[in-house]
């Protein structure tokens, strides 16, 4: 470059450079969509407004763990027969059902704009299929729900361990928690992700999808409550508890933690209640996936 050009600046036409590196196929495309969906759900590379909801919710679901550990720390020198326990691991999985609000907010945001803004033809012009699309979106939502449910549990476990009289004793005494908590949360995350994404796939309007998700959970839990009351009064059984779509992963959580239906659960007293809960859970999951595969069967016959 001449001195004159350096003083006055220069415009370079960098032209076009062919890509010579390695190139992935379906797996790479699916993983890329999974990452992009996670970023969108968490508000990453978006305005600060989009970041508020996920991280406020993460803060909210973490509060019980902080309070529990804090109380344990403050009372660590008191002579109690049993430690004061604000919340236990099983109940804490139930707190994660607060993530329903998050699902109602995020699942439509990750799904609906693709259809509304006609982005899907661009997606499916890439080396990926409708099945890849469905599992990338489901995976993204399920991963976030899992992370937001699991991180507070980790905080609770580590905090309890540190404020206990003997950290090693606490650890060895709660080994079952190390598989029961992740398994319960996997069941919860998969369920909410499938239901949320499947409902969102039925419309291209985010607000309609969000309202439908909340509505489904509220209406079925209220309906189940009404029917269970009647059944208890008349027959002492409450098979109608299975209508409660919101509580379904909690029935499975009880099976994981207790090995049977919780005696205080609305499902208690129903013969083979645990098996029925598993079948209903599986049925809802399969129905949701079937709806999604149908909605994104992109190849025209």
């Amino acid at each position: 470059m001449s001195a004159g050009a350096a003083r006055g600046g220069a415009v370079y036409d960098r032209g076009y450079r062919p890509y010579e590196g390695t190139r992935g196929r379906r797996g790479a495309a699916t993983f890329a969509l999974y990452k992009a969906s996670m970023r969108r759900a968490l508000g990453i590379r978006r305005s600060w407004r989009q970041k508020v909801a996920p991280f406020v919710l993460l803060g909210v679901v973490t509060i019980p763990a902080i309070v529990n550990v804090g109380v344990g720390y403050v009372t660590r020198d008191e002579l109690f027969d049993d430690r004061i326990e604000i919340i236990n691991y099983r109940d804490y999985v139930g707190v994660s059902s607060a993530l329903l609000l998050f699902v109602a907010l995020v699942a439509p945001d990750v799904i609906c704009p693709d259809r509304r803004q006609h982005v899907l033809p661009l997606m499916f012009a890439r080396p990926m299929t409708g099945v890849d699309y469905v599992f990338a979106k489901l995976g993204a939502i399920a991963t976030i729900i899992f992370a937001f449910s699991f991180l507070p549990q980790v905080l609770l476990f580590v905090g309890n361990m540190l404020v206990s009289d003997g950290a090693l004793d606490y650890f060895t005494g709660h080994l079952d928690v190390l598989w029961k908590v992740p398994l319960s949360i996997v069941l919860l995350a998969a369920y909410y992700a499938v239901v949320g994404v499947a409902i969102s796939s039925l419309t291209d309007r985010r607000i309609v999808a969000g309202a439908a998700i909340i509505g489904l959970f509220l209406v079925t839990s209220i309906a189940a409550g009404i029917f269970v009351g009647d059944f208890e009064a008349e027959e002492g059984e409450s098979v109608a508890a299975l209508l409660n779509v919101l509580a379904m992963p909690l029935y499975l959580r009880d099976l994981v933690f207790l090995g049977h239906v919780d005696p205080e659960s609305p499902l208690a007293g129903v013969s083979n209640g645990g098996l029925l809960a598993i079948l209903t859970y599986t049925g809802i999951l399969l129905l949701g996936v079937a709806v999604l595969l149908r909605r994104y069967r992109w190849v025209e016959r």
């Binding site: 010579e20 190139r23 890439r126």
Partner: protein, 319 residues
Amino acid sequence: MTGLIRPDGRLRPALETAPLLRIEGLTKRYPATTALDNLSVEVPRGRIGLVGANGAGKTTTFRLLLGLARATEGHIEVCGLDVARDPIAVRARLGYMPEHDCLPLDQTAADVVATFGELSGLPARAARQRASDILDLVGLDEARFRPIGGFSTGMRQRTKLAQAIVGDPELVLLDEPTAGLDPVGRDDMLALVARLGSFGISVLMATHLLDDVQKVCDYVVMIDAGRLVVAGATDSLLERTGTVTVDVGPSADVLVTALGRKNLPAHAIEGLVEVTVDGDAELDRLRDVIAELELPLYRLSTRLTSLDEVFLRRSEDSP
């Protein structure tokens, strides 16, 4: 089919020499209509115009090439790969720019193009680097961190083109790339399309604007009502008309009068003289008249048909 593909995703040399498209007996029927009817054509690499009126079957052809629709009958090969057998491998080699709006409006151009680069199989770092380079190439370097929702129509078209080529495709399908653009934006877009050929990217441009095709395409496939009208190199389709255009400066009227006296039909149009000549003998007589009048001869050329004329005539001829 994987044996035909190198680890970097490129085709083995045997396929690199294959025709760009080989379509045999392609038919696509819907319950109410036949979109494509026994279409057969073989197309070389380069810049190809897919021409037809609205509803001629252009978009259906694109959907079939992308493997997003199944042919009722027939066979398609893209770059030597069978679309029905391995649509994923075909799509890995294609870029696609739809006619309609298709961009997420709340994201920046850089994010959108990088994401589609990754979806095309590029590693994340390479996708972001290429997104930056490609947006620079299409003239959106300064706007790349702005949300697409604030873009003009021309900027959105450029972003659509950028996402189509970020994956370094062998063939890019452009559906009406100049739709909705003003004359300047249209010329800019056509200049970009013309440059793609020099990058080693073949182009299949669907349009009903024959003028666009004539400007940038070196091969034309014309379809009408799902049937092939004509296919061939653009130059070979632009036939000589038997009309000669002469530029003699401001003396056009003098020349027209003189040619009339010599029984050579001529008329002046916008300062030029158009003369109908039949064979070399009449062309010599035209030259002699200009010489006798001692007029300056700035240009003498044979006028070619336009693609519009070719399309209209061939459409009428086809069954």
